[in-house]
């Protein structure tokens, strides 16, 4: 009898130990995954795929601190193991806790560490209305105005053209002005056959708040040559939009469209 009691107590001790173990390493493991991913993204210059550059310094400093704590947790791990078996855990709860923690850790490790970093695609852009916001218009418009004053239209970015177009769609103002725009191809929602946007995402904080902006390009049958999400450089001049369906009053009539590599900083700020 007494021998049996010992066995039960021992197994309880064992399960409590494992559940505590799973819980203890769950937080450390997830922190390790996030911290390593952050440092690696920072080191390879890809942090901008996820967050605004003004957070780079803070994020990397905190990641470095996190890394110190993660390694320190391993350093002190032995004393935790020795003091863990305080709580009583049922085998079912134990199985749940260990499997849950394990699964979460595995999924986190695969998605955060194994899948290559990527920029947002048109799937998100179509969920959000193009040119509906996200622009800090006064700054962009001022910059744009300076460049327009110089007659230096080709240096205007997608963002600057969008803020100019938001202020006026008077064709006379844009006549004879040639634009050179780099962005990804995003079909117009109202006239996808004939019009696509040269689009970028504006990020104010992190990719979650990314708002698509873009300059419309009129080219019937564009989808025979260019695919959605492909990066292109379009050169052309503004004309009243020949499409009867699209909302934009002006569109670029392309002189040349070249395929280009995705820039290392795909978002604009």
């Amino acid at each position: 009898m007494s021998a049996r009691r010992t066995t039960v107590a021992d197994s309880r001790r064992g399960t409590g130990w494992s559940a505590g173990l799973a819980e203890h390493w769950r937080g450390i493991g997830l922190s390790l995954v996030v911290v390593v991913a952050t440092v690696w993204l920072g080191a390879t210059g890809q942090l901008g795929l996820y967050i605004h550059p003004r957070y780079f310094g803070f994020t990397l400093v905190m990641a470095a601190l996190g890394l110190v704590f993660v390694v320190a947790s391993f350093f002190f791990s032995s004393s935790f193991l020795a003091s863990a078996p305080a709580e009583r855990t049922s085998p079912r709860r134990l199985a749940l806790s260990v499997t849950g923690s394990g699964m979460l850790l595995l999924i986190a490790a695969v998605t955060v560490l194994a899948i290559p970093p990527a920029t947002l695609t048109s799937a998100t852009a179509t969920q959000r209305e193009v040119n509906s916001g996200g622009l800090d218009t006064t700054d962009a418009a001022e910059q744009a105005a300076t460049l327009v004053g110089n007659g230096d239209y080709e240096r205007l970015s997608v963002k600057e053209w969008v803020s100019l177009l938001a202020q006026s769609d008077d064709p006379a103002l844009f006549a004879d002005k040639s634009a050179k725009l780099t962005g990804f191809v995003l079909p117009d929602t109202d006239d996808p056959e004939n019009v696509f946007y040269v689009a970028r995402f504006v990020v104010t904080c992190c990719a979650v708040d990314a708002q698509p902006i873009g300059v419309p390009v009129y080219l019937p049958g564009w989808s025979n040559t260019y695919t959605t999400d492909a990066w292109v450089e379009v050169a052309g001049t503004f004309t009243p939009n020949p499409s009867g369906l699209a909302k934009a009053a002006l569109a670029v009539e392309p002189a040349t469209i070249e395929s280009v590599e995705q820039p290392s900083d795909p978002y604009v700020y």
């Binding site: 819980e23 937080g27 450390i28 997830l30 922190s31 390790l32 995954v33 996030v34 390593v36 991913a37 952050t38 690696w40 993204l41 795929l49 967050i51 957070y55 994020t59 400093v61 905190m62 990641a63 601190l65 996190g66 993660v70 390694v71 320190a72 947790s73 391993f74 350093f75 002190f76 791990s77 032995s78 004393s79 935790f80 193991l81 020795a82 003091s83 923690s101 979460l104 490790a109 998605t111 955060v112 560490l113 194994a114 899948i115 290559p116 990527a118 695609t121 799937a123 998100t124 969920q127 959000r128 509906s132 916001g133 104010t204 904080c205 992190c206 990719a207 979650v208 708040d209 999400d229």
Partner: protein, 347 residues
């Protein structure tokens, strides 16, 4: 990992294991992009990108919150903060709701901080007041909201005033609860009742340490493990839910509601609940809705969303019982809606 039989042996084992694992993680991360053929569908890829952006943006704030909470629990003398607070309960909660001015972490960082405060002597209603007020009444949030909206339309003022009132009213309501400990999850209530983990009282015996009190550094590291064990899973799951809803719930549905004084408020609160942007920066996020939604809707988004959203509920669930969270959510929602409607109809 091997136990602490021999003090000299355990130091390299744990440390080496940690360094090896970190190196392994870096190697996996560095090598994996070379393997082609992930070829994920756009929506899946975007869900991952969005979730990851929330995680990478929030994790440093979570770490900062844990560090500040560690400072409060381990490095400051016991009850240090309590000394400076008024004793009268109403004034005390009013003062606590302004503590965010000194701890400008966003709401995900506030949960570990509030847990630390409770262990350090705050009552449950006091920590609820802190948790609800700090995301709004902190310098970063106020500056970003001002940058986005200025003083126009009363949005900034409504946010600050409503945040203060809601946090204090809810703190007052819960202070009338006969048994505040029952508002907590049993496991967190137990860890509050546990004797101080820090090296303040040097008499308790940590069995395996054979009477040696763990150093403050050791206690801090243990606290990091304990807090991340609770908060990181919540952050991952909350971010994933936020990303999934962003990719799969059509925004047009919400946007159609924006011009109605009542629906604009309710729709923006629903949006705030789903997108779960940090209060530090949610003003920039909602700026894009400024043209389609009435000011009351924007103010309700900024008030409700700072206090309650998918991610916050997941984080707060680590500390408060489900019943408590339902009550808090309902109260915050009602009062935020009232503030928004007031601004739409009167403002």
């Amino acid at each position: 990992m091997r136990g602490d039989r021999v003090g000299a042996r355990r130091i390299p084992t744990g440390l080496i294991l940690g360094v090896v694992l970190v190196a392994l993680a870096f190697t996996v991360r560095a090598v994996s992009p070379a393997f082609a053929g992930w070829g994920l569908p756009d929506r899946t890829q975007d869900t991952i990108t969005l979730a990851l952006s929330v995680i990478i943006e929030s994790a440093p704030f979570v770490f900062l919150g844990i560090l500040l909470s560690t400072v409060v629990q381990v490095w400051l003398p016991h009850g240090f903060l309590l000394r400076f607070l008024p004793r009268q309960p109403l004034l005390r909660r009013a003062a606590i709701s302004l503590l965010g001015m000194f701890f400008p972490v966003c709401e995900c960082g506030n949960v570990p901080l509030a847990r630390g405060f409770m262990v350090g002597g705050f009552t449950v209603p006091e920590s609820i007041t802190f948790l609800l007020a700090a995301p709004i009444l902190n310098p970063i949030t106020i500056i970003t909201t001002h940058q986005a909206f200025g003083f126009g339309d009363g949005i900034l003022i409504t946010r600050i005033v409503a945040g203060f009132i809601i946090a204090n009213v809810i703190g007052w309501l819960f202070s009338r609860h006969p048994n505040p400990d029952s508002l907590l999850t049993p496991s967190f209530a137990a860890s509050c009742a546990r004797p101080e983990p820090a090296g303040h009282d040097h008499d308790h015996d940590h069995g395996p340490q054979r009477g040696r009190t763990p150093s403050r550094i050791h206690t801090s590291v243990d606290l990091f493990a304990r807090e991340t064990a609770v908060i990181m899973p919540a952050l991952f799951i909350g971010s994933l839910v936020a990303a999934l809803t962003q990719v799969f719930v059509p925004r047009s549905v919400l946007l159609a509601l924006g011009s109605n004084p009542v629906w604009s408020v309710l729709a923006m609160m629903a949006l705030a609940f789903i997108v779960a942007v940090c209060s530090n920066v949610d003003a920039f996020f909602v700026l894009s809705f400024g043209s389609t939604f009435m000011p009351g809707g924007i103010a309700a988004f900024l008030t409700f969303g700072a206090m309650i959203d998918v991610k916050m509920l997941a984080l707060m669930r680590t500390t408060f019982s489900t019943r408590t969270l339902v009550q808090i959510t309902a109260l915050v929602a009602l009062m935020s809606a009232a503030a928004g409607l007031l601004l739409n109809y009167v403002g």
